[in-house]
Amino acid sequence: MRQERNVEEINAMAKRMRLKALDLTFKSGKKGAHIGPALSCMEIMAVLYGNVLNVDAEVPGDVDRDRFISSKAHSVLAQYTALNEMGFISDEKLNTFQENGTQFGGHPVFNLEHGLEYTGGSLGMALSVGVGMALDAKLKGRTNKVYILVGDGELDEGSNWEAVLSAAQFKLDNLVVIVDKNGLQYDGLTSEIMNIDSLQDKFAAFNCKTNVVDGHNVRELLNIFHDLSDKCPHVVIAKTVKGKGVSFMENRREWHHSQLSQKQYEQAIEEVNGGRP
């Protein structure tokens, strides 16, 4: 039975998710993993799964569930670990991450039983799918919401803006777009590679209600998700730090996808456990 977690519980959950994500990255050896972009959205995922989303591992395909897709699907370690916390993915299954024959690869594969709503990895696709799912909820008179997490680098893709345009046109107040604004894309700073600012002005110009929050502050995130009452699509711009929680990964593009040495792994675990230098 689903229970909403409070601020303290969610912070503890995010910490466990970080530790697990580091374990899985280390275990992946030379294959490496998208650890940096997962660490930037741990609190967002923990808040969504731990409190906001009406989803239940006992009835994973329930038609009235809230829908959530991480369009920045490479942050899969944040999603897998959150789904693990909520009972959608067992420890045993999660430990097959990136192994031969696994269901849990470096990008998620559509699998409702395990809470995965969409096969991701090609950026700029899921927001339009979110519009479709939100439209269906409206047409069928359901009250569930649709949450789509996008990356700020990902917003380079023009398809996102076609989706936002249509979301406003169809007055989809049941659609919540969350931007994990960590300021980095693969080749470097988004401000230098392809400047996306001002995001707030852009979404506002597309007739969405836009809020800016600290993406690592659980209380702020909870407050905003429980206060989305405008009659238009909602955009939550979450300011985050790529690699958050591990000093040598923070704001470093090389940790977009990388492998962990034994020493780095030990230091990362220690820092997440509170032993930060």
């Binding site: 294959k31 699907a73 024959g101 696994t102 096969t119 991701g120 990895g121 380079d156 392809m194």
Partner: protein
């Protein structure tokens, strides 16, 4: 001038043609040609383009994660007389920006070279979204598009050099992982549209493309132990297809096998099938590739093994089917 030495050949192989080997050819081409432009969609670092970017900053553009825009911008530059190389992962560049490619490069013939990296299933564990097993078919159907899939690092360099001299659009498909096996140990003559016979055998012929050419060579050795001596062909160009070579092979062999890291529909196997059907040949054709389904997840070698595209799997297929000329008419599935 880029030198073809054993050392360089090893380096290109180590870098792997899936991403970085092709970028080694670019500085050389750009050094005396201001019309050469290189565009990437946020994969400069991954493709090894940082050196090019530093050396020729005016001939380099990072368009961000926006493949459709990249092809559009490339088309605009090409329309004004430039020779443009545009690159990102094969899945994204061949599929996300397909209509941009079709209208700009196909219908209007703009001089853009589309370089799809990590094609096939090199990015095995990344998931199906990163497996490119349809790109050959998509590109092949565009009129006048050259479609090329080099076998190793040296051939990749030769392909890039060759297409830079032509004004026609091209799609280059880069398969395989880092540390690609070397197929060509020394310099050789490369020509777009002319397949290379790497081994002259008898009775059966394996026509392979991309990194699986190296597997085909391995298979031929495994088969020698069974006293089977296959002909092995590197069919680097899928279009224009070397139809003359295929007709000659069909005259002198009883079974032709195609081997590719792609769907058996529409790629090398499809192209060879079309050629053989129209030629009226009675040769038996067996296509090896992905059999109209998406693969499970795993590392590169695992996926090849699961789909019987590694040397051992190909050997099994050949051993169980090579007598098919005698059994013609019997319907069976490999």
């Amino acid at each position: 001038m880029i030198e073809i030495t054993p050392r360089n050949i090893r380096t290109w192989s180590m870098l792997g043609q899936r991403g970085t080997a092709f970028t080694m050819a670019l500085p050389d081409i750009a050094s005396d040609r201001k019309d050469v432009m290189v565009l990437t969609a946020d994969l400069s670092l991954l493709s090894g383009l940082e050196r090019f970017k530093e050396t020729y900053p005016k001939q380099f553009l990072d368009i961000g994660i926006a493949e459709q825009n990249m092809i559009g911008v490339a088309a605009g530059l090409a329309k004004e007389g430039n020779c443009v190389f545009a690159t990102t992962y094969a899945t994204f560049i061949s599929m996300r920006s397909y209509e941009q490619i079709r209208n700009n490069l196909g219908v209007m013939g703009f001089n853009v070279k589309v370089i799809g990296s990590s094609a096939g299933v090199a990015m095995g564990t990344s998931g199906n979204c990163h497996h490119s097993i349809e790109d050959l078919a998509l590109m092949r159907v565009i009129p006048d598009m050259q479609v090329i899939s080099p076998a190793d690092g040296l051939e990749t360099i030769k392909v890039i050099q060759a297409i830079s001299k032509s004004k026609s659009p091209a799609y280059v498909r880069l398969t395989g992982n880092l540390n690609c096996p070397v197929v060509y140990k020394e310099d050789y003559e490369f020509q777009i549209g002319k397949g290379n016979v790497l081994k002259e055998g008898k009775d059966i012929a394996i026509i392979a493309t991309g990194t699986l050419v190296a597997e085909a060579l391995k298979v031929s050795e495994l088969l020698n132990e069974h006293e089977i001596y296959p002909t092995v062909v590197d069919m680097h160009t899928i279009k224009p297809l070397d139809e003359e070579l295929i007709r000659n092979l069909s005259d002198s062999h009883s079974v032709i096998y195609t081997l590719e890291e792609h769907s058996i529909i529409g790629g090398l196997g499809g192209a060879v099938a079309e050629c053989l059907a129209e030629s009226g040949s009675s040769v038996r054709l067996i296509r090896m590739g992905f059999r109209d389904e998406y693969s499970g997840l795993g590392d590169y070698e695992y996926i090849l093994r699961q789909n019987k595209l590694d040397a051992e799997g190909v050997k099994e297929t050949i051993l169980s089917t090579r007598m098919s000329k005698i059994r013609r008419g019997i319907s069976w599935k490999i």
